[in-house]
């Protein structure tokens, strides 16, 4: 098992002929992901890398290839529209890698996606990977290894750092999910924790949060009552000055609730082992497992 993606994932790549889309489509195919279709308006009928059929619309791609998952690499200006299109075409799982979507666009996207019963991961996220089964997004496949640790993170490269720590110390992963650093995202910590708790293959969970908002506190509350598996957590931004935007639009400390100290206390209070630095992840997991 694993969460959200596995061998049954049939992927359509929105923006497959673009610079980022084509590069990562090749990487995903090389990793073994079933990339069944691509979408670029105006390029319908072509084949990507001589194999993957390209369609003008997501609806056509779904109709012709039974794609059930979509990944979005289109520019920010049209990314909200790409999410609307995927949800309208009946895609059940939409992963939006694109960074820079206006927050007000997301206020309209999220209820639409929700009403159609779809799950959105991101935007502004690295996607997810179930090692040796499927990779959707941009997480480098070579740093991962199959195993029983579930990982959920708001960050990109910090996620890679943690995966790297796990893999080099022999701890493989069931699924690693990057949920994205924006203030409004489709899938939050709780959704992933719930899925990891239900996943038979996942034995322990790592959650990587950061300053800003109160998602980590709510996740801690959820862990306290609903998660029986050991959880290890990290909060980035312990040295960040209040009121400043630290690259991630979401990472603004507003009021006291968004600080790293507050979040670490909430995690601790919920029985989560809190790392002081990324290198603590392996010793803490070994202690708890």
């Amino acid at each position: 098992m694993s969460i959200f993606i596995d061998k049954n994932t049939r992927l359509v790549v929105q923006g497959i002929t673009g610079r980022d889309g084509s590069f990562h489509a090749k990487q995903m195919i090389a990793y073994g992901t079933k990339v069944v279709a691509g979408v670029t308006p105006g390029k319908g009928g072509q084949r990507f890398e001589d194999t993957v059929p390209v369609f003008n619309t997501v609806a056509e791609a779904v109709h012709e290839t039974q794609a059930n998952t979509s990944v979005i690499y289109v520019p920010a200006a049209v990314a909200a529209s790409a999410i609307f299109e995927a949800a309208d075409a009946g895609i059940g799982l939409i992963i939006c890698i694109t960074e820079g979507i206006p927050v007000l666009d997301m206020t309209r996207v999220l209820p639409f996606v929700h009403e159609r019963g779809a799950r959105l991961i991101g935007p502004n996220c690295p996607g997810l990977i179930s090692p040796n089964k499927s990779k959707v997004g941009i997480i480098p496949g070579n740093i991962c290894k199959p195993g029983n640790i579930g990982l959920v993170s708001r960050s990109g490269t910090l996620t890679y750092e943690i995966i790297h720590q796990l893999t080099t110390h022999g701890l493989g992963q069931s699924t690693c999910v990057g949920i994205g650093g924006d203030p409004l995202i489709g899938t939050n910590f709780i959704h992933c924790l719930e899925a990891f708790q239900a996943d038979a293959e996942t034995a322990a969970i790592v959650m990587i949060g950061e300053i800003g908002g109160t998602d980590e506190q709510q996740a801690a509350e959820f862990v306290k009552h609903k998660v029986k598996k050991p959880v290890v957590g990290f909060i980035a931004g312990q040295t960040a000055p209040p009121g400043r935007r630290m690259g991630h639009a979401g990472a603004i400390i507003s009021g006291a609730s968004g600080t790293a100290a507050d979040k670490m206390a909430a995690l601790q209070d919920a029985g989560i082992s809190v790392m002081k630095r990324p290198a603590d992840v392996v010793p803490l997991l070994k202690e708890r497992m």
Binding site: D20, A76, A77, E99, G100, I101, P102, V103, L104, M106, T107, R108, L110, P111, P126, I138, I139, P140, I143, S153, R154, S155, G156, T157, L158, T159, Y160, E161, H164, G181, P183, L184, I208, E210, I211, G213, T214, D215, Q218, F234, A236, G237, Q238, T239, A240, P241, R244, R245, M246, G247, H248, A249, G250, A251, G255, A260, K276, R277, P278, A279
Partner: protein, 380 residues
């Protein structure tokens, strides 16, 4: 991006919200001319991206045009929270019967725009929320339908018992909601929303923050950016496509990715050092970005060592290495540098660095420890 008060007032006015008159001046003479035109008492207000202007002496009442000129002279050039004042707003002093608060912010928890109103206006709303939370009224707006008339009126009655005033406030709230989406605002506040002795309801002071992701599609709003009101190194970073925030420490950090950049700063602190900055070179592989990053970091005289922490994903190790080599040719480094490079194309990157006489580490902790030690060696 933050707007100045006078810019925010212009936006509200354009959306039909009643805003009392006021004009902006860059010199004391201009302030005097405006005060003469208005006649009577005026308020001279510093236009700067910082709260607490009043407490800092940046808001002053003038009885005459001569006094307005003197106040402008005192305020222009003054520093409030590290930012220099280049402009003042000159406005007729209003007779105020009551002060309330109306704001709209995108709420993470409900994932909706949230209307916040309070009869306790004119003061810091976070203070009101902390001390008298019962004075705060919130409403999550469904963006599919917008702020409906009855919802706005209910909030209007939370501010005023008089139906005319409640309706006037409701109308302002609906227009403010329209303005938020039109301008691409992540925050729009009217504080205070005042009533005058004759009973009219007006937006006396306004604050608008624009979501940076909106600027590309809104050139008219992007043109409102006042570069003189921002820290120069942060302007240089933005123009180079980097995210940079200056801090008070001495270990200059250059990292790819915001989360890893924060974790790197934290680790500097963990090993007894102080980070000099937050700097995210982003997900691109452009060596020019690395050159720009090094130029900004080395421009800070407090920096005693430079730490690169690169975990290649989209970012390629060889591109970063090329950027480092190129940058150090353009401006020789005066402080030690520690490089951690792993991930995509790490072997190629390390080879490039070694040919240029630099060593690269694979481990983040080791790199941070060395950077802190070297900074302290230099400082001692």
């Amino acid at each position: 991006m933050n707007l100045h008060e006078y810019q925010a007032r212009d936006i509200l006015r354009r959306h039909g919200i009643p805003v009392p008159p006021g004009e902006v001046a860059s010199t004391p003479a201009e302030a005097r001319a405006i005060a003469e035109r208005f006649g009577g008492k005026v308020v001279v207000k510093a236009q700067v991206h910082a709260g607490g202007r009043g407490k800092a002496g940046g808001v002053r009442l003038a009885k005459t045009a001569t006094e307005a000129e003197a106040h402008a002279k005192a305020i222009l050039g003054m520093t409030i929270k590290g930012l220099t004042v280049h402009k003042v707003l000159v406005a007729p002093a209003a007779d105020i019967a009551s002060e309330s608060y109306v704001g709209i912010i995108v709420d993470r928890a409900s994932q909706r725009p949230m209307l916040i109103v309070s009869p306790a206006g004119g003061i810091d709303i976070e203070e009101v929320a902390a001390k008298t939370p019962e004075q705060i009224h919130k409403l999550a707006i469904d963006p599919r339908y917008g702020l409906l008339a009855h919802q706005a009126l209910t909030q209007g009655f939370a501010l005023y018992r008089d139906v005319k005033q409640a309706r006037a406030a409701a109308d302002i709230m609906q227009k403010l909601y329209t303005a938020v989406y039109a301008a691409g605002a992540s925050l729009a506040e009217i504080n205070p929303l005042v009533t005058t002795p004759d009973g009219s309801v007006q937006a006396l002071d306004a604050k608008i923050s624009i979501d940076d992701n909106e600027l590309e599609r809104r050139p008219d709003i992007a043109a409102l950016r006042d570069v003189s009101a921002e820290a120069p190194e942060e302007v240089a970073a933005r123009e180079a496509g980097l995210t940079f925030i200056k801090l008070d420490g001495y270990v200059g950090c250059c990292v790819n990715g915001a989360g890893l950049a924060m974790a790197t700063m934290d680790l500097v602190k963990y090993y007894g050092g102080e980070p000099a900055n937050f700097l995210d070179i982003g997900g691109s592989s452009n060596p020019q970005k690395v050159v720009a990053a090094l130029r900004i970091i080395t421009g800070d005289p407090n920096v005693k060592s430079i730490l690169f922490n690169i975990f290649g994903g989209i970012t390629r190790g060889d591109d970063v290495a090329n950027g480092i080599v190129q940058a150090t040719k353009e401006f020789p480094l005066k402080v030690p540098m520690v490089i951690r490079l792993t991930g995509t194309n790490e072997r190629e990157g390390i080879a490039i660095l070694e040919r240029a006489g630099f060593a690269a580490l694979a481990d983040m902790d080791e790199a941070v420890k060395q950077a802190v030690a070297k900074a302290k060696g230099k400082a001692a």
